[in-house]
Amino acid sequence: MNDNSAIESIELQPIARICGEPLLEIPQDLYIPPDALEVFLDTFQGPLDLLLYLIRKHNLNILDIPMAELTQQYMAYVEMMRVDQLELAAEYLLMTALLIEIKSRMLLPNPKIETEQEHDPRAELVRRLLEYEQMKHAATRINELPQAGRDFNVIQIRIDQPPAAVQLPGINTDDLRNAWMAILTRARIHHPHQIKRETLSVRAYMSQVLRDLRGCDQVEFYELFSPTATVAEVIVTFLAVLELVKELLLEVSQSHDAGVIYVRSIDAAQSA
């Protein structure tokens, strides 16, 4: 399987251009002109990518990589990269170290019995190279899939919205309670505030009494009490009247002893 020449012939596309000069290929001795370093770094995603390129495009045998030269040159690049690409330099350096390790181990007498294959650093490197290559291919394939916004657009037209019936906010008793709690909490934090001891039902009946009196000049006292009212309701209504009088909202009058007691809203009295 010697497709070396075939690959070479189609691979005449410049891999990069340096000052307008096409860089046709990465030379086998890995010498990269210093000017080209930046382009070179852009061209390859990292040492794995470079190594893969060398192996695939130049049919370079991992075992035959000229370690001494490569190391020398890598060290020179590392020096240059250190200026602003320290991390990348470290990665190339690491790869160089790995290659040297592999090479040195391969030069040692080959102990025919390899008990644990996984511990062979070359096997590990090959595994990584293959995995990386597989992902590189997968990346290309993914990029070839149709992509929303690039190869097609999603449809979205307008909904012809007629003036919708005004929807009113809904509330529930929890909303009211929470609002009230917020008020109380705030009052506690900010300033002492006297909130009188009163019962809700009295306040509700106060409103009701005022409502009943609205539009009337005055009513007789007994008219404020519904004939069907329970004892509790009668008491609460009476308390409400007293409270309203205290708050100067009602005027209660009796022209003579045991006479008719009239109740009028002071508001009504004033405007009358």
Partner: protein
Amino acid sequence: MSAPLMPLNQLDTPDPLSPEKVKRVLEAALLTTSEPLPISELRKLFNLELNATVLSKLLEEIREKWLDSSVELVSVASGWRFQTKADIQPYLERLTPPKAPRYSRAALETLAIITYRQPVTRGDIEEIRGVSVSSSVLKTLMTRGWIEAVGHRNVPGKPALFATTQHFLDDLNLRSLEELPPLEEMRSLIDSSAKNQDLPFEIPEAHD
């Protein structure tokens, strides 16, 4: 298929630009935009090589083609656009129920004060909340029919006294104000949130 409308530009568009193709492109462009597209903009689709008259005619044809559909092509002030027809609206609303509006905190607190302290004047509400109450808040609640002025306090300025209405109770599914969360329960909640210090005010109690 009709004759090409303009010479084929091999590099740019591989197939001849028949009226059918132009209509396909127009449809796609109009379907991908919710904003109306004026003819001047639509001409860009064809590198300005088709004039407005041709496009108008084709747009009219597209409009007719879509007449029976649930979507219509309309020409509005700023251009052409596709939109759904009104009879589809009720269905679409089931998909995205309109978000229920909410009352502001100011409105809710005002309502709570009127509910629990009624009848109260605007001044009372402001005193309790510690901030002024905007007229719009009161107006909102009045328009809703939840509060009403039940009288006036006999002090200078004769401020209106507000109370909640029967309609408010109805809307909250309550038979009477007594069914509201009792204030006593609130006290325990507040107490539990207050760490050490004594409350600087007396907590109102609900008891008959």
